[in-house]
Structure formats: C-alpha cells, structure tokens
C-alpha cells in the first residue's frame, strides 16, 4: 500500500538533477530549455533541483574526463535509490566527436550505470523529455 503511493508519487513528479560533465553547452542549454515556457516540463511536476539528495533522475551531458569522473561518481552515490541515469547527447553516449582527445575517458557508462541513452548533437528537448519518460518506467517497477 505504502509502496504503491511512493511509486505513484515518484513517477508523477520526478525531480531531476542535471550535471554537465564536459559537454559543449549545447545539450546543457537544451536541458534547461525543457524547463522553460515552450516545453515547460514543470507543469508535469518535474523540477530541476540543485541538491543530489533530493533527486530521482540524474541527467548527465557530455564526455567524462579524468577530473570530473570523481565528481560524477560522487554525485551518483549521493542520489538515493531508486534512481534513473539518463545520458544525453553523442558525447554522453560514447565520447562523440571528442572521443580521440587525450583527456577524454569516454561515455558516461564507463563510470556509472546508465539506464537511458538520448542521442543527438545536441539532443533536442523533445528527445530529452522522451528519454526521461522512458526512464520513469524503471521507477514504476
């Protein structure tokens, strides 16, 4: 009974945390664009939070490098279970155009487990919203 309410609450209003780990800003501003009037996901109860301990969904954009992989790991560990990780953009998936650069480790999944991959360079807001909705399926279980 209690679990049912919890699950319902979680899927109806997922709070998202966004971390830019070495992206070119293209995907970041698209993530922010999701929250602003034209796309406005806040009307569905999604809120962008600054504190990882409040978050359910973790949006990661960009490639991982040797310095921010520790920050990424740290943030991931702080998010309470159950959590969904959404990797956004070509760089977040594989390293994209930067994959051969010397300071690039690769995609987000080299460091933390990823549930949903959103392709695009940069990914469109529609795709990002779609990715988050897909991720919510995991919270339902």
């Amino acid at each position: 009974m209690f679990n049912k309410i919890l699950t319902r609450a979680r899927t109806m209003s997922p709070w998202v945390l966004h971390f830019d780990c070495g992206s070119c800003n293209g995907c970041d501003i698209e993530v922010l664009a999701c929250l602003t009037p034209v796309y406005d996901v806040e009307r569905f109860g999604m809120i962008n939070v600054g504190n990882p301990m409040h978050a359910d969904v973790f949006l990661v954009t960009g490639t991982v490098n040797h310095r921010n992989k520790k920050v990424l790991r740290n943030l991931y560990d702080q998010i309470p279970d159950p959590k969904v990780v959404v990797a956004i953009g070509a760089c977040g998936l594989t390293g994209g155009i930067f994959r051969e650069a010397y300071n690039v480790v690769g995609g987000v999944d080299k460091i933390i487990p990823v549930d949903v991959y959103v392709p695009g360079c940069p990914a469109k807001p529609e795709a990002i919203i779609d990715g988050v909705v897909l991720g919510l399926e995991k919270l339902k279980k």
């Binding site: 040797h66 310095r67 010397y102 300071n103």
Partner: protein, 124 residues
Amino acid sequence: MIEHVVSISLENVVGETAKMKVEGYRFVTLSCVEIDETTVDILYHFDKDFQLKHLRLTAPKDSPVPSISPVYFAAFLVENEIQDLFGIRFQGLAIDYDRTLYLEEEVKKTPFCKYVVIKTKPPL
C-alpha cells in the same frame, strides 16, 4: 599572416613586456608551439587600438621561463595552461597550480609535446 613580430630572448622577456605595458598595450594571450625536441616557440600577443603586436621567444624546454604575471596579472592563467600542456616551467608565477590546472595526477604528461622531460618545480 603575422606582422609586427619582435624576437626576444629569455633575459629580456619581462623587460620587453613591461615596455609594452608602459606603451599602453592590452595583453591578449600567449601561444606556444613545439619546434623540435629541445625548443618551443612562445608568442606573446598584445593589442592596442586593434593593432596586434607580437613578441617571439624561442625557449629551450629544460630551463624555466620568467613569468610575466607580475607585469600583466592576467597572464598567470595562460602560463599555467602552457605548464600543463607543454611541460615548460614558468618562474615567479602569481598563482602556480603546479601543473594541475587542467590535468589530473594520473594523466600528468605533456599532451602537446612529442618529446619531453618533465621538470620539477623551479626554486623561487
């Protein structure tokens, strides 16, 4: 093409940049290019009324270059960057990140140099 280039040497780096400051030039940046195994080219770019002026320093890799950050404070950032990427050491930096501005311990190499010897921090 690059015009107005003045060649300088290790001894008069700081003197020449101080002269530029007196003449009212704005510091733009430094560019570093590897020439061969032992030397690099460091270009100092300055700007005044949309006219660029450059100082070209051909520096050996193994001796530290005097920092110009006491003259132009803004230079500390780019000098730290060159320390990171080329392994050249600057002496007398206003803020010294000790080769960790961009790179972490495990990748503390010199990505922009094909041949290099990493030097320890020079005495102040």
